[in-house]
Amino acid sequence: MFAYYVRLALLSLRRNPVLTGLTIGAIGIGIAVCMTTLTLYYIMSGNPMGRAGEKVYAVQIDSWGIDDPFDDDRPERIPWEFTWRDANGLLASDVPALQAAMFKAAAVLQVANEDIQPSMQLLRVTGRDFFELFDTPFLYGSAWSASAETAAEQVVVLSRRTNDEAFGGENSVGQRVRLDGRDFTVVGVLDEWDPAPKFYDVNNGPFDESEDAYIPFTLTVPLELDSAGNTNCWKDEELDSFEKFMNGECIWIQYWVQLDDSDQKARYQDFLDNYVRDQQALGRLERPIDNRLTNVPDWLDVRQVVANDSKVLVGLSFMFLMVCLFNAVGLVLAKFVGKAPQVGLRRALGASTSAIFTQHLVETGIVGLAGGLVGLGLTQLGLVGIRALNEHYEVLTQLDVVLVSGTIIIAVMSGVIAGLYPTWRICRVAPAGYLKTQ
């Protein structure tokens, strides 16, 4: 019987090609606009760590000056990042399962092969726990050893991208590279890893690519490494040497820990409170104690990674979809009203209400499916357009399985919803109603 309904539906759709085209077009455009904005939103609001991110926490302490809150407009906010002094103070704790302080830097990379031009690379200066904390995939080698970290050895983990450029994708573990003229030994190469959003450093571009290379945090002072990211200072102080700067009240370091259970979390919270109290005794950290641990999903929320524009667009495009659906309801209704005599006849010949209902629902389902396919195509077009408009969105605009199947489901549902009222109306056609005239 289903095949029969499909055949009847196709016949009926062919009978009014303009009306059918308009209906499919309306649903398709509605879907496309909705899915394009939803794709942006979906990827922006993604949690690249999944469930594992629930145990990984961003650490915050209120290190700002006593006179003003960190953000005058949002006084409930405290600094997102750490001073060099506080980051090192926290590293002394042995409570977290894993912990890493980190910041963004830049250096020129040279390799022995002279055919490869020197190139500017972004660095993440961090601890060896970084890789396990964020579960980064390794293609070759591994993180540097604890002893290399303690001894501040010049070792580096390359990104796959950089390894492809500098070593043609070969296993480069043990090879030497120069960063800003200093020799480093490659100890590991990551596989592709570009979390979007780049949750661990949203201050410096939440949708930037991950860095090109990783070097030990303990090299910061010996090599006098400068941050290539945002730096915020509250205190008026003379910062005319590297040493003074490192001891100044400027924040530029992100700090992440893994806390496996609530007990560990409570103990770490105690540690933070004690640390801040100790510092207060030394005359620092004058603001009230306000230490925060925020896991990855909450952090993405708190940092408002999803741009307001994107949320506004999602709101707008759902209203757009509603217009398209009302439009489709009107068109389908018009079509079905025109079919009332035929329905009356079928009823007279013995079709039950449910047979009529199913027949027309199949018809609108097909319209929905066609609309969905049109919508899927137009969504691709929309995403290509957005990518062309805005290079920030490069990583943002890949349709994946979830989105494609979501599109089809939304489309068929739209078709069915748009068809439901007209179908219900046509099921109320009395069998005797239209037999006299035609």
């Binding site: 020129v108 307001n308 524009d309 009302f326 009107g330």
Partner: protein
């Protein structure tokens, strides 16, 4: 043509009319708010920069040897860049205006103001050709000369005794008073004197309220990483860009020459979020209006074909073509009016949501009125074709037994 019978006919066939009204209402809500956002973004993108953005080139030099002669190569780079035919001026600069990157400090008009209440302004540190390179205009005072430039070692702290500030920064610091010759204090209490007032110049962050608060200081940092701005004769920018790159590469192999970019592209990139929003909203609005118009055409055509016989009867009993045409126009006008009335409520509700959730400004009335007028016109245009078909129905239809 009386309105009442059309209205009561409408009420008897209300579903189709109601659906169109709903579409009109939602369309008004979306388009009025979208248009408002679009216009704001366009205004933001088209603010005067005060600079000769179209004729400026930026380029960066990153040294990668540890014993790099920053001062010497700076001198050589600048001499070579300024010697390129078609180059008006060139300067090293600590940050690129309108690039999204920069630093800001708090400044005070007197030391009586607590330092945390200082006015934030972007700092640009560049040399004596800065004013000519940026193409900014001094409304009073003078620019620096070469003898006033201080070359600073990395991590040094210094505050030049004489600086340029924008009028916008002057107004924030001194109100209506002329800032020329006045003293300004930084957070550490060090003072400087305003030697020139820039009519207008924009700083680092396009979405920052203090975008026009800028201080230009005669200082040049001796870092391994240097940015240059080069201003060319109008129209010669694109031809000079490769010359700039080659000149710098040939001068010195111990550094990377990077980020050779037209300043206009830097600015464009900074506004990409706003431009994306404006383009998406424009596209969505245009599509929406099209969909709504097609919906009106579709339903009106259908209603004409349903009412062919009725129209024939009207014609048979003496209605003129014009009367039939007018019937459909008036009917559409009623439906659209119903839609825009509901639409006004939706528009305001939607705007209220935008204002409260996303800190967008409140919608101006003119957009609602414009939207209403536009939709009424759109409805009439959309219904015109089916209405003309209706007017063409022959009176003889009435006697035919179909």
């Amino acid at each position: 043509m009386e309105v009442r019978p059309i209205f009561s006919a409408l009420l008897r066939n209300k579903t189709g009319a109601f659906l169109i009204s709903l579409q009109i209402a939602l369309t008004l809500a979306v388009v009025a708010n979208a248009l408002f956002i679009i216009v704001q973004r366009l205004e933001k993108m088209n603010r005067p920069t005060g600079m000769d953005v179209d004729n400026i080139i930026m380029v960066a030099s990153s040294a990668f040897t540890q014993d790099y002669d920053a001062r010497g190569s700076l001198r050589k780079d600048l001499d070579a860049l300024r010697a390129i035919p078609g180059v008006i001026a060139a300067t090293p600069i600590n940050q690129i205006p309108l690039s999204g990157g920069g630093d800001s400090n708090g400044y005070r008009a007197s030391t009586d103001v607590p330092s945390h209440d200082g006015i934030s302004a972007n700092n640009y540190m560049c040399d004596e050709q800065c004013v000519d390179t940026l193409g900014i205009e001094l409304e009073s005072g003078r620019s620096f000369d070469a003898s006033e430039i201080t070359f600073r070692e990395p991590n040094s702290s210094f505050f030049s005794p004489g600086v340029l500030i924008t009028r916008a920064l002057g107004e924030e610091l001194f109100g209506d008073e002329d800032p020329l010759g006045k003293s300004i204090y930084d957070g550490l209490g060090r003072s400087t004197t305003v030697i020139g007032v820039i009519r207008r110049m924009q700083g680092a962050w396009v979405s920052w309220e203090g975008l026009e608060r800028v201080m230009v200081r005669p200082e040049v940092g001796l870092w391994p990483y240097t940015r240059y701005l080069i201003r060319t004769e109008p129209g010669q920018r694109d031809a000079i860009m490769p010359v700039v790159e080659k000149t710098l590469i040939d001068l010195n192999k111990e550094r990377l020459v990077r980020r050779l970019t037209a300043h206009a592209d830097v600015v464009k990139h900074s506004y990409s979020q706003d431009r994306t929003m404006a383009v998406i909203l424009t596209t969505v609005s245009a599509l929406l209006v099209t969909v709504t118009a097609l919906g009106i055409v579709g339903l009106a055509s259908f209603s004409v074909s349903q009412r062919t016989r009725q129209i024939g009867i009207r014609r048979a009993i003496g209605a003129r073509r014009l009367d039939i045409l007018r019937y459909f126009l008036v009917e559409n006008w009623m439906i659209t009016t119903g839609g825009v009335v509901l639409g006004c409520i939706l528009t305001l509700a939607f705007n209220f949501w935008l204002v409260s959730e996303y800190e967008l400004p409140r919608l101006e009335l003119v957009y609602v009125l414009g939207g209403i007028a536009g939709l009424l016109m759109l409805g009439q245009l959309a219904v015109l074709m089916p209405a003309r078909r209706a007017a063409a129905v022959a009176p003889a239809i009435a006697t035919r037994n179909v």
